[in-house]
Structures are given as C-alpha cells and as structure tokens.
C-alpha cells in the first residue's frame, strides 16, 4: 500500500542550528508533497508544497527538497528558534485519498 513515513518521531536541536526533517514515500510516485506545522491542540497549518518536477522550494527560513530517485523529501529550517518547536507533517495524495506521515516533533532548545 502507498505510504508516507517520517522516520524521526522527535528531533531536538540547539537554537540557531539547521533542523532537517525527512519524509519518505513508498509504493507510489506522488505528484507533490506538502509540509504542515501542527501545534498542540490545534489543526495543522500549511507551510510549503513542492511538485515532483521541482528540486527545491524556499520560503523565508524554510527549504524543501524533492528527490524522486531517493523517494524522499527533506524539510529544512535554518537559524532555528524556540518558536519553531512544533510537530511537522508531510502529506500527499494518492488516487482519491490524502496520506499524511505520522509527524516529527521538533524541539529547539535555547
């Protein structure tokens, strides 16, 4: 079955460093991948979308890559801040379904 997997359940890094989160997909070729941020007790908030024919997308301190050979998307937050602490989810669609990864809980320590 089609799957999206986020390998790290949790990631802790020092403020100011770059956080890198991984999203792998199996058994299908998504046309795009989306990244969302979710804070406790709230719904996810859209951050970025990258299409299969795009290698990289940037928005302020965020960067997303899409490698169709590795079947992987990487999500980077540069110059990380404690306010970036949240759970980050990747998602895509397959046929008539939306598939979300289980999320990576990112903690930025001061």
């Amino acid at each position: 079955s089609q799957k999206i997997e986020q390998n790290s359940e949790a990631l802790n890094i020092q403020e100011g460093k770059t956080a890198t989160l991984t999203c792998n997909y199996t058994n299908y070729s998504p046309a795009y991948l989306q990244w969302y941020r979710q804070d406790p007790g709230r719904g996810p908030v859209f951050l970025l979308l990258i299409r299969e024919n795009e290698k990289e997308k940037r928005k302020e301190r965020l960067k997303v890559t899409f490698d169709t050979t590795l079947k992987q998307s990487l999500f980077h937050i540069t110059a990380s801040q404690p306010a970036d602490s949240a759970t980050y989810l990747c998602a895509s669609s397959s046929a008539s379904k939306i598939i979300f990864g289980s999320g990576t809980r990112l903690s930025i320590r001061p």
Partner: protein, 116 residues
C-alpha cells in the same frame, strides 16, 4: 475572513450513542476533508468531498461512520453506536481548488470526541 469552524469543540458521549460533528468550510472552498487524529498519532484520512460528492468512502473506518455535505458548504460527520475506540480529535479542512490536486488545505480546530 473567517477560517474553517467546527462544532462542538468538545463532545463527551456514552458508548452506543450517536454523535454528529459539524464543519463549516471557508466560503467558496469547493473541497472539504475529514480526518481523525488519535492522541500522539498522525492524521488518518477519512473522506473528502468535491462539491457535494464524495468519490471514495473507503477511508471511513466502519459502516457506523457516514458523512454528507449539502449546498457545497456545511458538512456533517455522523458516528452511530459510538465505541470507545472512536475517541479522537476529528479534524475538518477545506481547500479552494480541486481536492487531491496541489491545493493547500485549511484546517479547523477540531472536535475532541470522548466516548465513555
């Protein structure tokens, strides 16, 4: 403008009772989605509507779950004969364009359902 709203925000019910969850999407959004999120887990896709039509209902966990959308706007998710394993946060989202096609989803705050 107003975002996606969901009601109630919290619902506590007894096992075996029926519950109805409501979602008001952003005005003009043609696609609407329902998800379930158990504590500490990712989002489980349940169903999406394009207009009033749901092309695929196979994501609904059992035949106790049903959903409808009327007038291309409000949607209700109904769970009949609730079970304790139905306890979760039910999230609704909407998007401007075609569902499952590149479109940013806007999520509501969710309904936290607790089945005793």
């Amino acid at each position: 403008g107003a975002g996606v709203s969901q009601s109630p925000s919290n619902k506590v019910t007894e096992k075996g009772k029926d519950v109805e969850l409501r979602c008001d999407p952003i005005s003009g959004h043609t696609a609407l989605y329902w998800y379930r999120q158990s504590l500490g887990q990712g989002l489980e896709f349940l169903i999406y509507f394009q207009g009033n039509s749901a092309p695929d209902k196979s994501g609904l966990p059992s035949d106790r779950f049903s959903a409808e959308r009327t007038g291309g706007s409000v949607s209700t998710l109904t769970i009949q004969r609730t079970q304790q394993e139905d306890s979760a946060v039910y999230l609704c989202a909407s998007s401007l364009g075609l569902a499952v096609k590149y479109n940013e989803q806007f999520f509501g705050p969710g309904t936290r359902l607790t089945v005793l």
